[in-house]
Subunit: 468 residues, 2 copies
């Protein structure tokens, strides 16, 4: 199957990167550990917060509803705005960047095939919100408010602002401009949506925000954008099935990657660099950073022991960041694993023109394509890292399409689950964000958070000597 994602971990081995790599014996030992993690994840599939493994079926009534709704939106609106943050934003953004024209919003409507312009509002910066209001034609805009919990302060604030504007302008017809994607019961968004008669889509209970891109969180925006969501789900299913078939790192790519990262963490490689060589995959790296960081960054393990584990994900873009970060990666501390994402066939070909034969150091580029240049640069960077004993591996997509992106997403989600099992931590919670949330509530004077407010007030004041 040519469309199949490939995972290449040669450059994690000692034969390429010396003592920084793993020997064949190391791999055999790691495979035992990996086998246990694989079986544990397999048993958990579909249970608890692993509901996302079961979201790859494309023949459901919900998928049909998403497609019908998307078509209605396309016929009626010229802008689709997601109000969401974290997983509710990163999934839709990654799909948009990967599978639409790279300047989609700047294309004339005819060249967009009447696909709406697309915006994802994942911050509460007032300048950002004002700038959005400055450019939207509300008559032609529909909003999709997305929050799993139904109570995310940032998203609900955006909802309050936008909904107020819509009601003032459209009265009882305001609901036509708002769609809610949320839990079927938890939080207030579902209640408000029912009060207001909003069209709603459900995020299943067993699907956390950062694992939600196969749910309506990702699928509705994707369908509106004209992305083939069935091919996307098929791709996810292909990877899911492949990983289900083997508990060995020699056959299960997500397991191999998880195991090598886990073993690297144990060797003090506390940084995982995700470096796609394609602008279309730039935001896929952002999506990965949330998945990997928030899932694995944990203070305690499953037995309650303090462990403070987690690898820091770093996003880089090839070739761009060769001129920013590669100096550090090649010469700095031996604290990283770099993962390249390569593309065999880009969706455009651009030839480099000639005309400057008298300058050989420029002229050698002529006649090559940008495709050859970017591919050569990836290989060259891989080579430079490897020669300098910097472990790296590579994910290769035949091309960027809905199917390969589905595979890639499932690869990363399963990799994360496997790594969580090896670290013996809960990869699906985020207890560490509570402190900040509660402090925000206290600072804004929310009822019930008076004790936290007192605690903050009792915190030692800053010394002006250290503010210069």
């Amino acid at each position: 199957m040519e469309n199949r994602l490939k995972f290449d971990f040669n450059n994690m081995l000692s034969q390429y990167v010396g003592e920084e790599g793993f020997t064949p014996d190391d791999l055999v030992n790691l495979d035992t550990l990996a086998g246990k993690a694989s079986k544990s994840v397999k048993e958990s599939r579909g249970k608890g917060m692993m509901g996302w493994t079961e979201l790859t079926s494309s023949n459901t009534s919900e998928i049909a509803d998403i497609i019908v709704t998307a078509n209605k939106i396309k016929n009626k609106f010229d802008a689709f705005v997601v109000l969401g943050i974290g997983g509710s934003a990163l999934g839709p953004m990654a799909l948009f960047q990967a599978l639409c024209h790279l300047r989609h919003n700047e294309l004339p409507a005819t060249l967009r095939n009447n696909v709406p312009k697309f915006y994802v509002e994942d911050n509460v910066d007032p300048e950002r919100m004002q700038s959005l209001l400055d450019i939207l034609d509300l008559d032609k805009t529909v909003f999709n408010v997305i929050t799993k919990s139904g109570s995310t302060s940032e998203t609900m604030s955006q909802f309050l602002i936008i909904n107020d504007i819509l009601k003032a302008k459209y009265g009882s017809k305001a609901a036509e401009h708002m769609i809610a994607t949320t839990d079927s019961k938890a939080g207030n968004l579902i209640k408000i949506a029912q009060d207001e008669g909003l069209k709603t889509f459900v995020i299943p209970a067993g699907v956390g925000g950062r694992f939600s891109v196969l749910s309506p969180v990702g699928l509705l925006p994707a369908a509106v954008l004209g992305i083939d969501i069935k091919a996307f789900l098929d791709g996810a299913k292909t990877m899911s099935t492949k990983c289900l078939l083997s508990d060995s790192i020699f056959n299960n790519p997500a397991l191999a990657s998880a195991t090598l990262q886990y073993a690297s963490m144990n060797r003090c490689k506390n940084i995982s660099v995700m470096m796609p060589y394609a602008d279309s995959l730039k935001l896929m790296a952002d999506w990965y950073c949330q998945l990997w960081g928030e899932s694995l960054g944990k203070a305690t393990n499953n037995t309650g022991k303090t462990v403070n584990v987690g690898q820091t994900p770093v996003k880089a873009l090839g070739v761009t960041d060769q001129h920013s970060q590669i100096q550090l990666y090649v010469e700095g501390p031996f604290d990283k694993v770099v993962t390249f994402i390569g593309v065999e066939s880009y969706r455009a070909t651009v030839t480099i023109s000639g005309g400057y034969d008298k300058y050989p150091s420029v002229a050698f580029l002529s006649g090559h394509t940008l495709n050859e240049l970017i591919s050569a640069e990836m290989l060259a960077t891989e080579y430079a890292l490897t020669r300098n004993k910097r472990p790296n591996n590579k994910i290769v997509l035949s091309t960027v399409n809905a199917n390969t992106i589905g595979q890639l997403i499932m690869f990363f989600m399963l990799e994360t689950a496997y790594a969580g099992a090896m670290l013996d931590i809960d990869a699906f919670n985020q207890p560490g964000v509570e402190e900040g949330k509660n402090a925000t509530y206290a600072l804004l004077g929310r009822a019930g958070y008076e004790a936290k407010a007192s605690e903050i007030n009792a915190w030692p004041a800053k010394d002006p000597k250290y503010i210069i």
Copy 2:
């Protein structure tokens, strides 16, 4: 002076973050080391590759030329496209994001005050290049090719492609659509520019790419964008002067930050997170990542000893990445220093509407502004990190304007120079990128790189067993 940037390092101290922080005695000891670094940097100002410290004067004939040229461009063109990569791209992008409307390119021309749309092409992905050609109206577009060396493959490839299109379309008038910013002698771009009669601006010899934003690299795009470049340079001068006045971390903010990062590196905090709480500063973090990563990531020190030093810069955006990375920062390994960039006064105010009093967990937001929310969230995150013994410091801008951005840029550049002095490395070179460059040349068959090609061919082939 209210406009003055403030650096707050309280939360680096042990009284706030316990054993992860520094005691007052530690600070006194560090101040001795800092004093030496400060004096060394002071002596180097304006010399060698530290020419950038002397670029803060706004009354030069070059500045006048930039302003005249920018005005001509504004009158004649509706799109300004930078062809550049690394420092030639990151500086212009950071200024654009910080100081223009956040949706500048989507505003109608009248609301843009006839400032051209702005694009920075810092990759060679063929899909990206094609997408740019799909949307540009070449008649109304001017390009600014920027490369210090005059031989950067990526930028020269873009130049060859665009120049060929312009010549085919405009013949002898093609030169009106292209401006070159490069070294006055090095490389081929200056020769080609002279052959073709292009308008040119010079990057001074002592100013490397990542330190070039105060040169025409940053100033011409900024002036075209309507940014007050004199205020920008004044801000840089303000910070430069302030840091010149003191060799102590208790008075010199860039020195304080450098010293605390240096001491943190020595305590295995190998990650520096830059986290602005403003969308306008998002790309300032990208610019910082190149500056910090490429300057300090070095294999050998000034005495030739192998050191493999460097802190990995990570960009995060508040509040957005609270829903992505904060879980890791609060609970994961004690391997980071987080630097917040706060803004006291945003350039817009948006009030959160009401109407849902029966849902108190939503209603408490009503009546607050987004300004209050984002500020409360930054304080809350600072508090959460500090309570969990995670050292953090904070840069505060009164507001985002040309002057404060000038201060911020000079703060980071001086901080980098100080940190380089403490690490005893050359902060101004990038030897580690040569390997990859040469391998690229070899892979593309450039004459003179046959030996490198043979070397690559002799490299052990990949084992298909490890490609799954």
